[in-house]
Symmetry: D3
């Protein structure tokens, strides 16, 4: 139920029986050896699986987020907080004006969270008849637990973002010691300290482990859609 395979008449029909919609935000930024668009690909694949079960619409993902710490890595595209906030506001307000009422904003990138939250609250204040929930697969308790059951720690660009659909090249074997950087390190300092972009841990987990990890995310999203 992606917009690209629908026309406006399909949406008008949809609105006669449902008013939920998934809006995906993410980032285009370095993810070490895996895809520059991992923060979009992951929420998109999870949403496709969850929305197929629930018959819920998915709006076109916004592929750019707030990533100023990584702009020294080619391919990282970072919006300023106000620009990101502006796009999200106009996107959600526009859909609210067309009759959508229950929004699940599925955000794939941690750098967006702190701007998304106040924007969603403001929208909730402005549209009392609507509801704007935030879903972040990778911080959901069930997904975190699924990671822990694999005996692995989630970190940026490590195994936890290396799905079959984000893997673009072979990754190094073994694992990397955790990298710790000040939260507000500049992009130059970040590249110096972070090297290949992985914040530490194994570069890859077995495919069947990843399948369980992914399934936990899908289940969590299905539950979030029910709870809307």
């Amino acid at each position: 139920m992606m917009f690209e395979s629908m026309n406006w008449m399909d949406l008008e029909r949809y609105l006669t029986h449902d008013d939920r919609i998934v809006v995906i935000t993410g980032a285009c930024e370095q993810h070490g050896y895996v895809s520059l668009l991992s923060d979009i690909l992951a929420p998109v694949e999870i949403a496709k699986a969850a929305c197929a079960q629930e018959g819920v619409l998915i709006a076109p993902p916004l592929p750019f987020g707030i990533s100023p710490y990584f702009v020294t890595y080619p391919g990282t595209i970072s919006l300023r907080p106000e620009t990101f906030a502006g796009v999200v506001r106009e996107l959600l307000a526009g859909l609210a004006a067309q009759g959508f009422r229950r929004f699940l904003v599925s955000n794939g990138h941690g750098g967006n969270t702190g701007v998304l939250v106040p924007v969603l609250v403001e929208l909730g204040n402005a549209y009392p008849q609507a509801r704007f929930d935030l879903f972040q697969w990778w911080t959901h308790p069930d997904v975190v637990r699924a990671g822990e059951e694999l005996g692995l720690t989630q970190r940026h660009a490590n195994w936890s973002e290396n799905f079959t659909f984000t893997r673009v090249r072979p990754v190094p074997a073994g694992e990397k010691p955790p990298v710790s950087l000040p939260r507000t390190a500049s992009a130059a300092a970040t590249r110096l300290g972070l090297g290949d972009g992985n914040y530490g841990g194994p570069y890859q987990a077995p495919d069947e482990a990843m399948a369980r990890f992914f399934a936990a995310a899908v289940d969590a999203m299905v539950a979030a859609l029910h709870a809307l």
Copy 2:
């Protein structure tokens, strides 16, 4: 050569031998019977074909444009001119800071053109060592001529946007009389006057005609990439 199948190291290598990049803008708006994302799907498919020949990178498309006249059709998402300008500026300036020098902005939506042009000129004034060209497949003389050779007129949401990859449902047979609306008609007036969203003409052309039409667009883009 889409970002989604590349990591940052791939881009760093690319920048050692090329500095061209294609940046795609479009719209998420009603296109009658065809896909809400036709204005993205068309430039993406054309760019994939052209860039495969030329080995040029394609940045993630911005799927939202300036479409205030269609917001009465569900699924149309419209940004204000300043929001659209902001995203495009930060996207292009960010890539320029990473070493890209020759930009081909492939815009799939007419409503964006009048904002894109001044933004690209301003960027050219600010980055004298870079070049920001605009490519619009559907207004390119060679593509217009290809349409005329089919004996057909290009109009929003008619045959000219009905490719195999934008078709989501069967379309009506036959053709629709041309619709003429004031350029600044409100969204309410537009829906009243435009009905199904097609501005007139046949809803569909034969697939082989569309293949020739598409090929003209690809050839035009290849030439634009050479001319950068």
Copy 3:
């Protein structure tokens, strides 16, 4: 019926029997040998003639538009798209709040069009009881035809902008070969390629030809005022 020769009481009286108003936008930019303010002088003179027939009010013209490509020519003053949009929005919304309902925005500069259109549509969406029409004398079919009947092609700063009221110096005899530049050429590249500022064609047409050309514009505007 220009604001400068009226006081607020005149306007209050006017609003008891009419709710139309002409709002003029244009540019302050190089026009080769003719006035830097040609894009204001032309719509002003045309509006004066048309509004005298119709008894319609003319608001003070905004003399600055979007002209980033010409900033290398002294005297060109260019606003960013968002600044131009902001002024136009506040100007029109302010007049709408005072009771004006039928707006004819007469724009004298092509660089403004792509920002004006979405702004006027958004205003129409926000003020359903009002109407915001765009009039551009130089692209009006009747005016284009009048130019063609003179056997001449309209281009920036050539004969078609050389009226008795925009002529400030003698212009070169003869004509200039057409200049073709990429639409997004930077201001430096534009000056290099464009030289004196005329995009090609005769520098001047006979005065009586210009009178017919001007009259076509006035007639077109009168019709646009009727159609409001």
Copy 4:
């Protein structure tokens, strides 16, 4: 030496021997019985006279200022402070980039002053080689003194703004008691308390008195041009 009677070549020549320019700001707002554009007409006529003596250029006046208190009077057009600041910044920065160095901003409207001052200081901080002076004819000590010598007090829309070139209708005989309103009164409260728009005093002074008053303003401006 107004832009409208010059082309870009004239300005390029001018810049070889002078780098001064007058930039006029004002307002389009109720002025009781006199012209809605009095705050533009006065600085324009004064500048024309002063600049004719000094051979200094005059840029096109920005006809809209900050007048929220008068929006209940038809014909008052008010920009928000940020919009006004934006236009002034881009206008002056653009001219500074073309080689102008000594700016005399002649502001005809008191409501603009508090925004103009910080904008001009910021520009002076950003362009250390340039100078941005503010001239306000009606508050200049010599002009105030000239008014006092007439035995009259300057107030909005009274005799002091009633020049032959701002008078559009006969004005009432006699004078009006001074009106005192809180500085931040809303537009509704202002109209209620202010009635015809004159803040008090005679509606008109003898033409020869006005000629002396005007001459004082011109002399003051000539001195300001010398002092640049």
Copy 5:
């Protein structure tokens, strides 16, 4: 009655019997030998005394204002006019939404006035049921008169801002000749011409004189609170 010694329940109770609130703006900028925060300390102390009499609430002061002319003096923090306007608008609109109706904006810094006035008028236009008055202690006629009775002239950073609560170091004996600078002098020119930051006059007045001066300000503010 400062927010810092209250909780939200206190405010909810307050709103059942009063709807007045004092909002303080000022500056953090050089004041010669006295405190960098003199423009906050003075209105705060005056408000505390006045509001204690009247039982009126005082919102947390915004400690940053518009001071571009002093940024060459360490410790001066200057906001752009649009940033200052934005904070003030959101602060006042937020309180208006919670039930406050009569606002006394007590501004301690002259550089803010010209932006505050239009913002307060706009708010009055937007919230017809509320009232936004401006109080500036140092320009109030009764306070000016109190200064004149001391035989002293108020100027930035001279005796008139040297209260026991703004004095941070011993000040020079005697007085300084008045300094006159163009109103739009850049920060560099200002520091060059102004030296220690005092615009002229005695650095200090006797404490009992200052007590009378302060008392005049408190009385004026009490009257302003009554007049709301």
Copy 6:
């Protein structure tokens, strides 16, 4: 070492031997029974203690943050993310231009974090010679551990924000069950679900426990000042 007890000359002297500065952000928002300004009072008191040891300057705190979820509680003042970002950017960039190089931004309010981080990173990218660190006392590992040693859990408006200097009224005895609300709940839903404003746990801890908790915060900040 607060600005209010210093003049510009003090700062100029300071800059000859140190270039560190503490910048405090927080919020004015409901904190249940304790002060509306708890998120300012806590970082201010901690900074005073830490900076007294280190001899480091403290800039005037910005008392307003991002708190849209609490605007239904009187006294909560919330800025939009872009307004907050603008103030912080101008404040820090202004100090950087005056010679400060090592910034410790001590943020007392969780709702600000997600906007502060990208703003600080952008500033670090723009000023490579400066460093912008973020300190948040309440999330510092040593402070969290100190809380755990008390056997208590930190939650908004519970014991952990009830210091002697934030307590304004007696608080209820005992403790409240933890409240769990969706992160993006609207202000109306938040008030409904949250009642008195405490997110759960004891309303107060013994004073000597609070003294140890506070000391841990001071020590952590001293360490952060060393690490700058």
